[in-house]
């Protein structure tokens, strides 16, 4: 339709090519380090987008899954002696199973209760991380983690490719879901649950699907993230991560795929590029969050879409019903 739509294909191809070549054109190893964060955070933000932007569930449980995935993979490698890839897959599987159980119960509740239960769930995960010392080693955490180095590149080049090897397919999967009838149905449910039910749609099944997929992907992202950090401790459950994912979703646009991808990448890179202190960056995030929620509730992508809607509004004055001219 619009120029932007026609450009999406080439833009995405160029973006993927640039991402794959990044370690060879990045100005410094630090830039590659930032790119690893960008890749993993974008997947986590997009998963949250599937749950909140599409399915309409403001789920703080995403932070819990980020942490569960991190711990399961670390314990899998350190204590169970698993190779790293199976450990990551185990992390995703555990998150999916836990999400199925939690979601099955929590999705019976109303919106308010769901939010609170999702917070409670994450607080419980945090408590376990801190206090179940036999398994999680408490506040000390599990150190000595590391990603494989198949290519022997300058660090963190190899870690970057591990992150990318997960992030690109994960985003691909999320794109397929978002663009499919399932994605459209989730949007429909978020907008009007009663109408959806009158159309034969069972909201709970769709929402559970979104909840489980998002949990699994976030869990694996969290796992790779802590192996990249080389240690997992209760700080992986810091509310900071949840806030960051949320802001990416809100600014990018709830229910928009490319909006959130762009926001995820930009918001990982920009603060680093601007050399903001962490506090200043968070203050800025907080301001942006409030401004966006107040003035641009569907983010940048939503704003673009609204402008397209305007085109239609002008094209056909709503006061005339075009029934007669058929």
């Amino acid at each position: 339709m619009g120029a932007l739509d026609r450009l999406t294909g080439p833009l995405v191809a160029a973006g993927i090519a640039a991402a794959i070549a990044l370690p060879f054109w990045a100005p410094s190893p630090y830039a590659v380090y930032v790119a690893i964060n960008a890749a993993l955070f974008t997947v986590a933000a997009m998963s949250l987008n599937l749950v909140y932007g599409f399915a309409g569930l403001l789920s703080f449980a995403q932070l819990g899954f980020w942490g569960i995935g991190a711990y399961v993979a670390a314990i899998g490698v350190k204590d169970l002696g698993l190779p790293i890839i199976p450990a990551f897959l185990l992390a995703g599987a555990v998150c999916a199973v836990v999400a199925a159980g939690v979601g099955h119960a929590a999705l019976r509740l109303n919106r308010h209760s769901f939010v609170v239960v999702s917070i409670a769930f994450t607080l419980l995960v945090l408590t376990l991380a801190r206090d179940w010392t036999e398994v999680t080693r408490g506040a000390l955490g599990i150190p000595g983690l590391g990603l494989p180095r198949p290519f022997g590149l300058t660090p963190p080049g190899d870690s970057y490719y591990v992150a990318l090897a997960f992030s690109l397919p994960a985003l691909g999967l999320l794109l397929v879901i978002a663009r499919s009838r399932v994605g459209r149905t989730l949007l429909a449910i978020r907008q009007d649950e009663s109408l959806a039910r009158s159309h034969g749609i069972a909201p709970r099944a769709y929402r559970l699907f979104a909840f489980v997929v998002a949990a699994a992907l976030t869990g694996i992202a969290g796992a790779i993230f802590v192996f990249h950090l080389t240690i997992v401790d209760p700080l992986i459950l810091d509310i900071y991560y949840m806030q960051t994912f949320l802001i990416m979703v809100i600014l990018g646009g709830m229910g928009s795929f490319w909006g959130v991808v762009v926001a995820g990448i930009l918001m990982s890179i920009l603060p680093e590029a601007l050399r903001f202190s962490n506090d200043l960056r968070m203050i800025l995030y907080g301001l942006l969050l409030i401004l966006a929620v107040t003035f641009m509730p569907y983010g940048f992508a939503g704003w673009l879409k609204a402008r397209r809607g305007e085109v239609w509004r002008r094209a056909t004055p709503a006061t005339r019903l075009p029934a007669g001219d058929a």
Partner: protein, 260 residues
Amino acid sequence: MSAPLLKADGLCKSYAGVHAVAEVSFSLVEGTITAMIGPNGSGKSTTVDLVTGFQAADAGMVSLDGRALTGLAPEQIARSGLMRTFQQVRVYDTLAIEENLLTAAQETDGTGWLDALLRSRRFRAADSAARARAAELLDLVGLARMAQAPAGVLSYGQKKLVALAGALMPRPRLVILDEPVAGVNPTRVLEVEAIIRRLHQAGQSFLIIEHNVDFVMRLSQRVIVLDQGRKIADGTPEEVRANEAVLEAYLGTEAEPADA
């Protein structure tokens, strides 16, 4: 006489002592247009909710084609071939008008989630059939040119037409319309009337809730009248027009004295 398409038996619903619907029973014949009228607050919308599963009845039974619907969830009832629209117009604002219609038919087109995610051959066949059906309905309601516009940009009356077209998408056994022309201006009422007539001629069965008495008297073969949650009349438009209880309860409160 053939078995009824829809049968409601002894439906009851009260809110904190208010009998919104009390012992309402009726049955609908396939291929007809039946109207349900009654003053404000007489229990019409509540009856629709009870029949379509959006509210649980305190008592009573509902069946469609002889199959019990009682206790089923709204989505299950919709899938069994009973579609409805809402009195407060509802559409998916950010979805395109065509997508609004496709969403209304997707659950009964024989394809599953995996089909949809993988775009299987079965899915593509069902999808193009649904698109054809949507095009046909949009043509009928005169919104074909707007098919790709987000439904949010439409006017109130146009949204009502999208909701109507949505309910018709899966070729349901019965469509219940809750006030399809409320708040719609008189010339357009005639257009909606023509649309419903066309669909009826093609064999579609309707139950229409309306306040616009002239509209339903012209369209329907049968009229059910509710007042204060009770059914007070049930018959042909002529019979209902002559019914004293109706004149008193309904026309007496709504319109000017009917003896003019």
